[in-house]
């Protein structure tokens, strides 16, 4: 079966609605299908990758550590929109580090997160076969 390019676009905050959690569940299940997978985080979706999340006060599950497993699932292309970060007074330092081991480079540990402009993200979107918006 030919592989397709899947892009998951995450647009919502990690809590308040269930979209972020259930999007991550699709990504993890989808990883078993050996497709070409990318993730994009835009608008409030950038909050999904904030470091040091603590959900104790709202009583919902803190699923943010799961993002760190994405590299082990061969999900290593994670795009975060620059403008969405800036609008919210955030920078890459506010995000948790996400890495993967590059099998083509002696398993060197590399950064999965790429900060891209909206225009660059538009080009990435243009290259996809399947786009899932959550």
């Amino acid at each position: 079966m030919a592989s397709k390019r899947f892009l998951y676009i995450n647009r919502k905050a990690p809590h308040g609605t269930v979209y972020a959690l259930e999007s991550l569940e699709v990504v993890l299940i989808g990883a078993a299908f050996e497709q070409d997978v990318s993730l994009a985080f835009i608008d409030d979706g950038v909050y999904q990758l904030m470091r040091n999340q603590d959900t104790t006060a709202i009583g919902s599950k803190n699923f943010s550590p799961t993002y760190k497993a994405l590299g082990d699932y061969d999900v290593s292309k994670i795009y975060v929109e620059q403008e969405s970060l800036e609008t919210r007074g955030l920078s890459k330092d506010d995000l948790m580090p996400l890495t993967y081991e590059d099998e083509d480079d002696d398993w060197a540990e590399k950064d999965s997160i790429h900060i891209v402009s909206g225009a660059e993200l538009a080009e990435i979107i243009e290259q996809q076969d399947v786009i899932l918006n959550f």
Partner: protein
């Protein structure tokens, strides 16, 4: 063309399910194929057989079931999303020790792999959501 359809919102609150239905019906009328309709998030609530909408309103679940029956289209509810929200077929109800099931005829429960598979099989996967 082969279309896959993803419905991410429940019936009546959002227009997503209505729009997905009209899209699917129009695509079938135009001779296209619907590979699968996959219901996720609150979209799984479209599969209830216990809804009693007023007589002058549309019956969203029944309408989906009829479309599926007439055109041999798969209507799939995500199992994890369905279990969270109490959407159970007879098997799931028994397994979970519940005293009732609520799934409408024409709908089936399956895994998220069916969504990925729809993306792979279809020429276009159309997402209807918030």
């Amino acid at each position: 063309m082969k279309f896959g359809i993803l419905v991410n919102e429940g019936p009546y609150t959002h227009q997503a399910s209505d729009s997905a239905y009209y899209f699917a019906a129009a695509a079938l009328r135009a001779g296209h194929e619907i590979v699968r309709v996959f219901f996720y998030h609150d979209g799984v609530n479209n599969g209830t057989r216990l809804g009693v909408p007023p007589q002058d309103d549309r019956n969203i679940s029944a309408r989906w079931a009829e479309l599926a029956k007439d055109n041999d289209v798969e209507l799939i509810l995500c199992v994890a999303a369905a279990q969270r929200r109490g959407m159970l077929d007879a098997d799931e109800a028994r397994r979970a020790g519940k005293d009732a099931d609520n799934m409408a005829p024409g709908f089936q429960i399956s895994g998220l792999g069916q969504l990925i598979d729809a993306g792979i099989q279809a020429d276009r996967l159309i997402v209807f959501g918030d």
